[in-house]
Symmetry: C2
Subunit: 472 residues, 2 copies
């Protein structure tokens, strides 16, 4: 209670109470505290979009339904200047549910999902011997041509980490193994899912093929199936393990996608706005609850809560980016269209809905007073001040391209990769209590940033052009 009162006193200097008539004036701090105990807005968003829209694969009609739904929701929740900004993108769809079966020596079926940009096996499938590699490095070390006619399998595992850092360790198995295997003659690649759960739900996600390498079929096995395949190698006594793989994804060529934006308009709209982002698209298997319906729910609820505490100085713009999963097409399109429009700062929520535990910025050294003030203000929610330089989320290309200010509100990712890109990314995985803590922290931080009269990056006068246009 003391801590709250102290923080309240500190904040009252920074945020003079807004002129309001009804209800009684509310401080930003009160709005954040109310979010912690009672926010219903974020839940309404993520419950709504997962129930009424469901999966939102980039470039498809399902993503378009997601945009229409989001526009309606933003308008109903008091956002202004709500718009869809369309762009074209190359669209890949997964086709029929994948099938992987061991033909010999131990016939049984495995759960498999195609990876984004995977080629099709055709409905008749591919049957070939499986060659196992423990790591991408081992695969890379295989002699040229040595995988001719084989299916490569990479068994690298992922360990849960609070900061999500094992994605960097395990991710390459998905990101590059199929391209490497194809370059050595493999007819297809299967990987252990890049994920930390033990359910029969493969983790999808994008893979890549280097220039000049023809894409091959590529799929992820669920972790229990991957473990079974590895046991088969031990039990086969050197006999070849033969797999039949059926993956039927399709490239649809260029289709329309789009970003959705909306604003809580500030008292001084000529000041660069605060940009808060998430992505609206999801892979097809789940309903896009934690990735990233929750992120859109959090940023939208925070913006709305800040507005509810009184009109902020700066405009807060929400960016529900499209087509993040399949190549940041929305982020790139948004930067291409808006890079000459200065933004005050960018923040993104795209790591589920579990608790925020650390605040990072990229202005800790250039505007230490603001960094410290924010750190103090979120301490009451259990959020520590970090020393990492914030890099911003995937949909903040525009701010990165401007070399602008960034904030990262680090979330607990311990169970994120249990669910990431799986059929299990559904509403029931969101803990309403932790979701509300996110909204509270975001309300506090976004409100403070939107109240800053001076440059967030430097603490100096607000620049009239993005930093990149000033040669920084």
């Amino acid at each position: 209670m003391n801590r709250t009162m102290t923080a309240l006193a500190a904040l009252s200097l920074a945020f003079p109470a807004q002129a309001k008539t009804l209800p009684a004036p509310m401080t930003l701090e009160q709005a954040a505290d109310d979010a912690l105990t009672g926010d219903k807005v974020a839940w309404d968003f993520v419950e709504g979009i997962t129930t009424e829209v469901g999966p939102r694969q980039a470039g498809t009609e399902a993503e378009a339904r997601g945009r229409a739904w989001a526009v309606q929701w933003l308008k109903a929740n008091g956002f202004k200047n709500v718009a869809i900004e369309p762009y074209m993108m190359p669209t890949w769809i997964p086709g029929e549910p994948g099938r992987a079966e061991i033909v010999s020596p131990f016939p049984q079926r495995f759960a498999v999902a195609p990876l984004g940009t995977s080629a099709s096996t055709g409905p008749e499938g591919i049957t070939a011997e499986v060659v196992m590699f423990a790591t991408v490095a081992d695969l890379q070390a295989a002699p040229a041509g040595s995988l001719k006619g084989k299916i490569a399998y990479v068994s690298n595992s992922m360990t849960p980490t609070q900061d999500g850092s094992q994605y960097g360790f395990a991710g390459p198995t998905r990101w590059v193994a199929s391209g490497i295997a194809a370059s050595k003659g493999a007819v297809a690649t299967v990987i252990k899912s890049v994920g930390t759960d033990n359910h029969r739900n493969p983790h999808s996600g994008g893979t890549t093929f280097p220039e000049g390498v023809t894409p091959t079929p590529a799929g992820a096995l669920s972790n229990p199936d991957a473990a079974n395949l590895e046991r088969m190698f031990k039990r086969a006594g050197g006999k070849p393990i033969t797999m039949k793989l059926v993956l039927t994804p399709q490239d649809l060529g260029q289709t329309e996608s789009g970003n959705v934006v909306g604003e809580i308009v500030g008292r001084n709209p000529s000041l660069p706005p605060v940009l808060i982002a998430c992505h609206l698209d999801s892979w097809w298997q789940g309903t896009g609850a934690i990735d990233d319906g929750a992120g859109c729910a959090i940023v939208a609820a925070a913006a709305r809560n800040v507005g509810f505490a009184g009109q902020p100085l700066r405009t807060i713009r929400v960016l529900f980016a499209g087509a993040e999963e399949t190549g940041l097409w929305g982020s790139k399109a948004y930067s291409a269209a808006h890079v000459n429009e200065p933004f005050a700062v960018g923040l993104e929520s795209d790591f589920g809905a579990d608790r925020v535990w650390r605040f990072d910025s990229n202005f800790r050294e250039t505007n230490p007073a603001l960094h410290k003030r924010i750190a103090l203000a979120v301490a009451r929610f259990g959020v520590s001040g970090g020393t990492d330089a914030a890099g911003g989320g995937a949909d903040l290309n525009v701010v990165r391209d401007q070399k602008g200010a960034l904030v990262d509100l680090q979330q607990d990712g311990t169970r994120y990769f249990d669910l990431h890109h799986t059929p299990d990314d559904t509403l029931d995985k969101i803990d309403p209590v932790q979701l509300r803590q996110n909204v509270a922290v975001w309300t506090q931080v976004v409100g403070m940033l939107a109240g800053e009269a001076t440059s967030i990056l430097t603490g100096g006068p607000v620049p009239t052009a993005p930093p990149m246009m000033q040669g920084k």
Copy 2:
């Protein structure tokens, strides 16, 4: 340590050391204690059958491969009189993976699995309005003919229970709802999975249609999908929810299944044997690890451990029953063939591989000394003596039909119904430490029962005919 020494002393009276040369004589108690810390036999069985065979749907070639594998394993592990006892049974197979999709007002796909004995929708599927019922009782109360042309949905939920007793509460949703709905004109039925998890893995299992009611298509939705459907009803504002359901199971008519038996032959084979059972078949979605590969692993390892401690007085017969899941066909066939052969006692393991926590028998009042002796002997493994009358597992029809002695070693079922009948019934769900505790308890109990010279049911002289043939 004291407790162990006391128990050892007590046991040494009941079980004179067997004459052995190498290694040094081992008591039954030592064999059980060794199993607790180091048993590898049960793991070898369940790892082997899930890896080398996988799912074993009753009546199919996969179940036949399971029998062949089990015969080989039993022989390799020193069992005698290993045999397959075939029988014919009506076989139902699930067909292609099921599909359920909401057509309007909120189009998206749900995960669904057909229920055993479900009719086929045909590949074109059935599209109809969904009518929701909270319980089977509500469905039962619907007026005759009121479901004409509709798909019935029952939303009853299941709570985890240590003793598994909520299966009796939630189970009827699967067992009888589709028959009731069909009798009221429904064209199909979908239910919330009878299960306690929140993964996109529907729980399959059998359903039934009363005489005179034509079977309709019937499926289980995964719990997250069921929750989504229920939210749709709330958000639809009275608009009809329309579902397209595609389930393509097939009845194959009579096919061959079989029971597998093997023995640790006793010193006095004329005494009625101890019968320890499990079932070898599984539903098709998982690999039959907890249901019931683990059960077969536990009973087989226990029998082998008892034999390793010295030839028991009575023969121990393992019964790996076939076709339990689809209607106890193996259990019925075994009783039909063997009901005139007296059994000393029956025990079954068919509730996963989590810890045994209670010992029950049906001779606590008729042979209290033995009941008490067993309870004392398993106390060191954390197993309490219970007062429930043991009913025996599903595959012990022969002993029930004989009105014979039964023992139940109650396992912790808290997480059993997270996995039961799902794709997630895989090896990784088995905790090796708890599996070993099962083997230890079973070794102790089976060894004691096999050492009993007098009637297990009464403590009196061993009868020469089954109790049912003596008018009991």
